[in-house]
Amino acid sequence: MIRRTGMVLAIALFGFMFAGLVIHHVERQSLPPLGKRYVELVAHELGAANIVTGILLTYRGFDTLGEVAVLFMVAAGVGLVLNKRGRRNQGKRGVTCSPPRQASEIVRTGAQILVPLLGIFATYIILHGHLSAGGGFQGGAVLASSLVLMLFADPQQRLDQQFLSRTEAAAGVLFVLVGVAGLIFAGGFLDSRVLPLGQFGAFFSAGTIPLLSLLLGIKVGCELSVIIDRFRS
């Protein structure tokens, strides 16, 4: 009873606080100065049509790098928590793992059709990150979701973990190298103006942003695949 009252009280207090936020919320009439500056700078200085990608990969590129590092640590952490050696007592408790059921015809056929399409879609999202809605994180997530579908269709399939880790590490090293190139040849770490900016809105434009986007997509896709695969075993 006391627990229940405390729970209701806590939620009511939070609700009261949130209600205050909603009541006093005034919709912005114009951009705040920093946002305005970014909108102007990304278009003029970086030549990227998608301002969010410009911010993520250049002005806040260092954050993005840190975030990819967090993803890597999560992949390692999940592996550590779920590793086989630490789970010796599993067999003792009489758990019998029945062999996984074969996926149904619908799932298998659907996967055959959808996995290549998802791959193309992911590549499209990654490579057009500087032009339209998309980017490395989103495309990487689509890539990993196509992998989930593939694993649903064929649960016995073994993933080449080593290949995934190596690709991911290579993408990470290249990402940092492009960043260092920005430090040497342009204004600072991860500055995208190492390569020519090109024509605004063209596919090859916005300096190194498409390249960084591609590397980020590969890295995120590999990392998410590793995390998913660790849960399976």
Binding site: M7, I11, L21, H25, E27, R28, N50, G201
Partner: protein, 119 residues
Amino acid sequence: MISTVVLTAGLTLILIGLWGILRHRNILRIIIAFSLIGTGTHIVIVAIGYVENGTAAIIDRGLSAAEAPMRAVDPIPSALTVTAIVIGLAVTAIMLAFAIRLYEAKRTLSINAFTESKG
């Protein structure tokens, strides 16, 4: 107006998640409630960045570079949300991994079974 609606939806999701965490005893449900709080927070962040009659901060035929500072929504909350989504996924993955280990230890997912750290 739009941002108020979105803000309300996001805050309601946070409240539902909070209720789920406090109410449920099953660890998986608690994890789902955590994800709900995360999603609600993302929606709140995006709602805060909305500018009246604004459009997505992507320069194309519909939004020229000259009028972008007037008509685009704030790109910073959007960029932060992309970051937050990825971190949310990472946190969920870690929580699920621990849930698997807890299940192996006690053969149950109810947090009532885990009394070691109870004061």
